[in-house]
Amino acid sequence: MKVSDKDVSYVAELANLELTAEERARMLRDLNSILEYIDRLNQLNTENVPPMAQVSNRYAVDDSKQGSEHFAYAMREDIPNGLRPSLPREEALKNAPDADGTFFKVPKVIER
């Protein structure tokens, strides 16, 4: 068992999740089974394989371009509303549980 009940509670708290005892038990089981599966990867020799955080830099990129050019397509120029205009405020606030027409409103935040 890699993950303990304490770990589950800790991670749940960080994620702002309130879990019942039943849910915690299920999470414990699921997380451990995921990590066991991941463990199988450790059987592979990855000594000469660089760590990969994104797949996009392997598959979506023009390999004939090197250095900064390699990823240049994924950047934009500094033009306000160049790609997509800002939303009208009315629309921006529309889905908020609470708003006053100007601001989003949230329950009082006391500390930072």
Binding site: Q54, S68, F71, A74, P80, S86, L87, A92, L93
Partner: protein, 491 residues
Amino acid sequence: MVTSSETSVAARAKYEPVIGLEVHVQLLTASKIFCSCSTRFGDPPNTNVCPVCLGMPGVLPVLNRKAVEFAVLAAMALNCQIRETSIFARKNYFYPDLPKGYQISQYDKPLAEHGWIEVTTKGGIKKIGITRVHLEEDAGKSLHEGFPDAAEKTAIDLNRTGVPLIEIVSEPEMSSPDEAYEYLTRLKEIVLYTGVSDVNMEEGSLRCDANISVRPRGQKELGTKSEVKNVNSFRFIREALEYEIDRHIGVLESGGRISQETRLYDANEGKTYGMRSKEQAHDYRYFPEPDLLPLAIDEKWQAKIRESLPELPETRRRRIVAEYGITEKDAIVLTATKFLADQFEAAAKAAKNPKRVANLVQSELAGRLKAKGLEIEQSPISMNGVAMSADLVESGVISGKMLKELYDVAFERGKDFPVVYEEEGRPEQSRDTSTLQKIIDEVIAANPKQVEQYRAGKKTVLGFFVGQVMKLSKGQANPQLVNELLAKKLE
């Protein structure tokens, strides 16, 4: 301000403070870092927002090339090494002004590292290391007060969400609040020179957090630190650090232990307060941002960015001192902003005698500004005005005395020199030879002994006559002309 008691003064000598600073600087791009919303300050709340910066599901960030270039330029100005490939990371925490629930930042592979800046301290020039400079996005703004429902609710404006920031982290290498103050002053000046930010603390485009700990002098190991946040001026940071140093020493001396925590500074009370944060609030669970490609800044791009790196304040100061023969102190004033230094140098170079421009700034401008309590940027007389006045003196059109008078008038009326010179009818020192001749005749008649000496070959007496004539003309006469006429008359 904290007033140290007798005991804490004695105790203070036993301890050495260790200070490190984290400075956030907003970059002056026109649009946000990952979307095209405007970054303009002061726009109506929640009008510069879009699905990307609101953290709607399914959106993708697209990196602003200019933000990268600005960050690299600032890092270069801070003597950092630029990492050819850096990556973005998610910093996870919950706060209402962070709609995504994470901030896109950089973690284990920041944009730049290993920099330094020079700071003048009591013990001379000291190099303060810069650990890292990385790119990240700003959060929104929470407004806690000023609303009828403020007792129950906090208002959120997300215009600032996604404005590009650089975070500049120093090494824990400052050992007094004064050094920290000096570091911030120099840092601000350098960033201002690069033009990547307006570093305006009131508008929040420069923000600073301070890490502070104390250790017994001679001990290598660092003490437990506290972090001071929410400080909105360099002066307050210095005060907050003074307070914290006393607090740490007080706790340690009475046998207590410092707990690692974040504290807020209350400028009105001059005190810091611990926040009731939970310990795990510091577990940000960073992981690589899957929505963004690695940031590759190859040598070619770096070289191109480096071309726009201006001469930096310290280098410029040294050059100006050497080139115009002014004092170090005046050079600091004249190079306080790039704008001012540019103006000064342009004026000095355009003038017939660059040194005279520098001298006038020192001898005539500085004192008048000080008397009026003005900064040099607020001077009624511009650098161009100084250059013009210098040329008028240089070519003998006006006398030094007239220049002083014209400067007085300019300060009285709050107008630049060229304007005042016109308003006063383009005055010139006297070239009217008939009046001058009369004065010269008087002087010669009144000093027969000196006339004799002169005619006997003691040519140095001429200086005496010139002085007398100048005195009688109330300084209005052109000394060169007086010289000529006197010499002729005395032959």
